[in-house]
Amino acid sequence: MDLIFEGIKKAFLLLVTLDREVLGITFLSLKVSGLATIISVLIGVSTGTVIALNAFPGKRIVVSLVNTGMGLPPVVVGLFVTIFLWRNGPFGFLGILYTPLAIIIAQAIIATPIVMGITVAAMQQLPKKLRLQILALGATRLQMVWMLIKEARLSLLAAIMAGFGGVISEIGASIMVGGNIKGYSRVLTTATVMETSRGNFDVAIALSIILLLLAYFINLILTHIQQKERPR
């Protein structure tokens, strides 16, 4: 129990004194996971909408694959991204293994199916007649899709939160493709694991608390946006 208090004290100390290393790690976590989430939203919402609004052969298989992808283990993603990015791998010429960029790629791969899966469900939940109605009012197809996205925004914001939550808390891929390099690719989760293995439990607890606070504030902002306008 003492340890937890010590950790809280340490977290407070690190935050108040604006410890440069901890601040760097925190900002990097936010940047990496934020960018990965944005990429996953761009891909996930667009592709998810296309899947949801169109009927095509094998749709169920595609949707089931996307839904399975929602549980994609980060270590598996990490392993494959590592193999692809190795110097002697197919994308070795990019030279981006053990960089924050590699973490963004891996995390985007993890978050995309999550966002896509929830998008598909959200779009399919909208009444079918709504589409006809919007089109009947003279909207173009693009306008219709935009209207539907706005209509489903509660669920879509939930999708963004789920995607962000999935990657900010993820460790397996970050440590494999990022390498946990001090001052460069060390994020909150990988730093926590390292401090734990170093026996610095107070620092590890402090980092965990910072991670939780960060996740909370991001979700607070998203929830604020989500709840601002009550659905009609």
Binding site: K31, G34, L35, I38, W86, R87, N88, G92, L94, G95, I96, L97, Y98, T99, P100, L101, I104, K150, G179, N180, I181, K182, Y184, S185, M194, T196, S197, R198, G199, F201, I225, K228, E229
Partner: protein, 285 residues
Amino acid sequence: MKKITHSFIAFIALVLASSVLFVPSVYAQQKNIILATTTSTQDSGLLDVLIPVFEKKTGYFVKTIAVGSGQAMAMGQKGEADVLLVHSPAAEIKFVADGYGINRRLIMHNDFVVVGPAADPAKIKGIKSAAEAFKKIAAEQGLFLSRGDNSGTHAKEKSIWKASGVKYEDEKWYQQTGLGMGQTLNVASEKRAYTLTDRGTYLALKKRLDLDILVEGDAILLNIYHVIEVNPAKFPKVNIPGGKAFADFMVSKETQGIIKTFGVDKFGSPLFFPDAGKKVEDLGK
């Protein structure tokens, strides 16, 4: 709704703009060195002291990947690292003989110790020979935790088991964590188990551990670190000058001096003994 969209776009733009900061790293490749090393050099904090000195001096950027010695050499074998700092001599000699590495140089040593709960259920405290102590642990079926990860420590542990001549694999009292040294020590402390550890990591974590040193000082327990440059003849993408610069830095007088005093202020005794230029046979004498 418009306001929300705007704030969203602003947020996205902000994050995208900040991502530009990542770009230079892609172009500055030749300035990067990938150092594959063991967890003990990172968990003890030694590299946190040495690497900034090296970077400041040479302008290189070191990407330290802390894994077990086995995995570090596997990275070297694929040309995915430029220089290795490892402690698994038998495997290292094979690594160099197979043409994957060049210029293997002695850096430092400390020693392994057998640690366990103070109660010492297998009564191994004070036994001089590590192999004898392992035999006793097996006979008494004391819980023993192995790294089980092909690290240098794991290799050393296997060689001690071999010397003891007892059967240990698949035994109930023998468990593998598959984790780094620091984490394995934490597990051993919780489970009141015996384990083999390098002294450096043990000393660094000691304050949190419920483990005592039970066996030490046996010649077989010597823990020797070498630096090896990955053979550029085999892998054209290896950063040859970078790897060499780091290896040269490790044997330099200044670095050896830092190693000599590292940990003294914190633990009262050094964690590693610098050995550059010495012969392996003379160590520990």
